[in-house]
Amino acid sequence: MTTRHPGLGFALTGLALAGLLLGADSGVRAEDEDKRSPSGSVELVYRDVDRDGSRRKYDEDFDGLDSGVRLANLELDWSDLDSKLLDRARLELSGLGDPYRRGSFQLGRRNVYDLRATHWQQAYLYDLFGLVNNEDGAAWDARRRMTDLTFRAFPSERVQLSFNYQRGERTGNSLFMKDVERNLFRLDTPLDAEHELFSVAATVEVGPVNLLFRQSRRSYDNRFRNITEDNAGLEAGALSRLDSYDWLQRDDGDVDLTTIRVGAGLGKRVRLAVSLIGTLLGEEQLDSRVGLDATGLDFNGDPFSVVGGSSRSEAEGDTMLVDVDLTVKLVEAVDLHLQFRNLDRELDGVLTRDLDGDGLEDDIDGDGVPSSDTRLDYELSTLTALVEARPARTVALRAGYRTIDRTLDRNGFGGLLRDTELDSDDDETVIFGLSLRPVKWFRLNADIENGDITQPFNAVAPRETSHTRIRAAFLPQPEMRIDLGYLDFDHDNNAPDLRSPGSFYDGTAEGTTHSVAFWHKANENVDYMLRYAEQEIDTRVGVRFDLAGFNLADDGDSVFQNDNTQLSAYLNYRWSEAWKIHARYTMTESEGHNLLFGDASGLVNDEVIAQDYDDWELGLTYLLPNGLYFGADYRDFEYDDGGRRLDGLGAVLFSNDGLDYKGQIVSLRAGLTF
C-alpha cells in the first residue's frame, strides 16, 4: 500500500502527460512554436543545517528538515497554446525532498474541459521517550500523503460535469502504549491507513436557478498492528511480561453521500439557497476485525497464552443535513437573512469479542449478554435571523438572533453511567455587528455575540458565552495599511452536571488577544511588515479529585493560564537591477501554568510553561539580466524551554531543559525565471 517517492512519480507523470499532450497535436503551425515555450521559474537550493541541542525537539518543530540539495520550486506555465487538445497547462513543484512537498498539474481547453491534479506530503516526527516519564511516552515517524484529481467538462454554457478522486495515506511507524495484564507495554505499531473518495457531480443552470447534484463514495481502510517480543513492560514490580504479542486490526468501510444544492434568485429581492447532504442513496458502514496472538506471564506471574483471540464489530449510520439560506431585500437598504440548518446523525453498532481466544464470547458491558449493541443519535437544529441595514453607503448595521436545539442519545457504552442523554433546546444567542468605511483610508468591523446555552454538554463547554471581535484598518496609501485587532471571549458554566445528578459544573474561560500590524509596499522594490500580538488565556474548571475510590473525593480545580507575546517582521528590498535582500524575524514568548490541584488533599500537578523562540533570516540575491539568479540565505534559530513540572511543595519533578536547541541553516540558491 505504501508508495515510494510519490512526489517524484507525480512530477514525472505530470511532465510525461504534458509532453504527450503538447506533442499530440501535429496541426500546430511553425510560427506558433514559440507558444509551446513555457514561462515560469525553477530554483535549486543546497541547504546546510547545523543544529545543537535536542535533536528530538528540533525534529518535532521542523519535521526533520535536513541538509541536502532540493528542488525548491518549479513552475512551468503554458498559457497561450494553440492546440486542439489544450490551450493551457501548468506544472508546479515545491519542496521535493523536504518534510512538506507539493506538486500540482493543470491543463485544459477553454469551454471544453479542465483537469487539475495535486499531491502533497507532510512528515510528522515526534519522540518523547526519555524526555518525560516513560509511561507518558509516544513516538511517531509518520507521513501523510494526499492526492486530488479533478476533471471538469463544459458540454454547454449552462451545464458543467465534474469528477473528483482523492486518495489519502498515512504510513510510517509509531510506538504505542498498551495495558496488558496490569502492566504497561511499549509496542511497535506500523501506521497503515488509507482512504479514497470518488465523486461525480453535475451543475445545471435553468433560468435563474442553479442546481447541483453530487454523489460521492468514500472508502477507508485502516490497519493497526501492535507487535512486540520479549518485553518486560514498564511498571515497576509488575510480574507480567510479554514473550510475544501480535494484535492485527483492520477497519474498513464506505460512506455514501448525496449532495443536492439549489441556488436561485427569485426576482430582484429574494435569494434562496437550499442544500441537502446525506446518505440518500447509501449509508455509512464499518466492518472491523481483530486477531490476537500472545504469550507471556500474567499479573500473577503465571504463563498465559492467547491463540486466535478475536473481535468483530459492525456499524451502520445515516447522516442528513438540510441547509436553507434565504435573503430578502425588505427595502432598498435593509436585508433580512434567514438561515436554517438541521443535522441528524444516527449510528448503530454491534460488537462481539473473544479476546482471550477461549471460544467463549466476552460479556463486554457486564449485562450477561455476550455481544454489545450501541446506538448514537445526534440532532442539531439552528435557526438564525439577521437584519442588515445600510443607513448610508459607508455604514452597515447588523442585529440578529440565533436559536439552537441539540439532542444526543447514546447507549450501550458499557453501563448506565456511560450512556448519554443531552437535550438542550432554546439555546439563544443575540448578535450585533457594525461595519464602517467612512473614508477610503479607514475601515472598521465589529461583532458581538452573547449566548445562553440551556444545557452544556460537559464541564468545558459554556453555558453563557460572550464573543467580541473588533478589527480596524487604516489605509493612508493604496499600498500601506495599519491593522488593529481585538478579540475577546468570556465563558461561564454553572449548569447541572449531566453525568452526576445533583451536582453542577463550575467553569470559567476568558481570553483576549490584541494585535497591531503595519504593512507597506513603498514601491515595486520595497515592502515590509511589522506585527506585534499579545494573547492571554485563563481557564478554570472545577474538578473532583478521586483520592482512592468513589467515596474519597476532594474538590479542586484544573487551571490553564497562558500569556503569549509575539513579534514578527519581514523586509524585501531590491536596491538595483542586480541585487535584492530579504530579512525575516520572529520572536515568541509563551508563559503560564497548567495546574491541577485539590483544595483539601494538597495534591498539585503544576506544569510551568516557559518557552522562548527566536528565528531570523537574512538573504541576498544576485540577478542577471537573462533571468538567472543566485542567492544565499542565513537563518538562525533558538528554542529555550524553561518548562518544568512541580509537585505540591514546589519541588521540580522534571524539567524541559533537555528540549533546548539552537541552530543555523545556510542555503545557497540558484534559479531561473523565464
Binding site: 433580512l336 434567514l338 438561515q339 484544573s558
Partner: protein, 280 residues
C-alpha cells in the same frame, strides 16, 4: 426540529409578503474590448493571461464592459474616468455584486448573500484582483493574504507548537456562511479531510467529538502544549470532564497525577473493540 419549524414559519411568511418585482434598467451601448485596449493596452495584455479570460463563462463580446459597464460615454468623453464603472469608487457590496452576477452560478457562492465576509463588509476585490494572474486572482499568497486582516490568528501559528500546514484555505472556506460556525460537529469533517483515519464511524465514539468537535480538546492553530492540546499533562485536560464522580476508583489522582490517560485509553477518538477506548 418541529419546534424549530414553528419558529421559522412566521419569518418565511414575512419574506413571502415582500414584493418580488423590481424595475430593470435600460440597455446601453457597448464599444468592445478592442476599443478599450487601444488606450489600456497593458491591462488588456495582462488580462489575456488571467483565468478570467479563459473562463467558459467569460463574455467575449462585451469583454471589459462585462464588469466595467458600457463604455460608450467614457470613450466619447475622451476617456473621462467618471463615465465608466471604476471599482475603487464603489462600496465593497456594490463591487461584489458585479462579480456575483456570474459567480453565483458556482456552488461556493450559492449562499453568497450570507457569507461571513460579505456580512463583515469584505468585498471580492479586497482579496481578489480581477486583473491578476494568480490561479484564483488572489492579491497575495493564501495565508499571507488572510493574515493581513486576521493578525491575531496568524500570530498563533508562531507559537512553539502550531499546526504544520498553515494554509488557511485548506480548512476554512472564505466564502462560507455562519452555519458552518454554529455546527461544531462539522469541524470533524473539516479536520477529517487530512486526519481521515479519525473521521470514520466507530462503534464506540467519543461523544464530545459529535457535540463540541475536535476543538473541545485541541487548539487547532497553535498551543504551548503538545499535540495542540488545551492542557498538558493530559490528565489535567481529561479530568475536567472525567473527574471523580465518573471514573472508577482505581483512577485515583495520587496514582495518575503525572501520567497520560491515553497511555491506556489509546483509542480516545473512538474504538471498535472497547467501550472504554482501551485499544485501537
Amino acid at each position: 426540529m418541529h419546534r424549530m419549524f414553528r419558529r421559522l414559519l412566521p419569518l418565511v411568511a414575512l419574506c413571502c409578503a415582500v414584493p418580488l418585482a423590481a424595475p430593470v434598467g435600460a440597455e446601453e451601448e457597448y464599444v468592445g474590448s478592442e476599443t478599450c485596449a487601444a488606450c489600456h493596452d497593458e491591462i488588456a495584455a495582462a488580462f489575456a493571461r488571467t483565468p478570467h479570460a479563459r473562463s467558459p463563462y467569460w463574455d467575449e463580446e462585451r469583454g471589459c464592459e462585462s464588469c466595467h459597464g458600457p463604455g460608450t460615454a467614457h470613450v466619447e468623453e475622451g476617456g473621462d474616468p467618471a463615465r465608466i464603472v471604476r471599482f475603487g469608487e464603489l462600496s465593497a457590496r456594490q463591487a461584489s455584486e458585479t462579480c456575483l452576477s456570474c459567480h453565483r452560478k458556482q456552488e461556493a457562492h450559492f449562499s453568497s448573500m450570507q457569507s461571513l465576509h460579505r456580512l463583515g463588509d469584505v468585498g471580492c476585490n479586497d482579496c481578489h484582483d480581477p486583473h491578476g494572474s494568480h490561479d484564483k486572482l488572489l492579491r497575495a499568497e493564501g495565508s499571507e493574504l488572510c493574515s493581513r486582516c486576521h493578525q491575531a490568528i496568524a500570530a498563533q501559528f508562531d507559537l512553539p507548537r502550531s499546526h504544520p500546514i498553515a494554509e488557511c484555505a485548506k480548512c476554512h472556506n472564505p466564502h462560507a456562511t455562519k452555519s458552518l460556525r454554529t455546527d461544531r460537529s462539522l469541524f470533524r469533517d473539516t479536520c477529517g479531510d487530512c486526519h481521515f483515519d479519525k473521521a470514520v464511524p466507530y462503534v464506540y465514539s467519543h461523544d464530545v467529538v459529535f457535540v463540541d468537535g475536535c476543538a473541545a480538546c485541541h487548539e487547532v492553530h497553535g498551543s504551548p502544549n503538545r499535540h495542540l492540546l488545551k492542557h498538558e499533562p493530559q490528565v489535567n485536560l481529561c479530568y475536567q470532564c472525567h473527574s471523580a464522580s465518573v471514573t472508577p476508583g482505581w483512577h485515583s489522582v495520587p496514582r495518575f497525577l503525572n501520567e497520560k490517560c491515553t497511555a491506556c485509553h489509546t483509542a480516545i477518538h473512538g474504538s471498535n473493540t472497547s467501550p472504554f477506548f482501551l485499544e485501537e
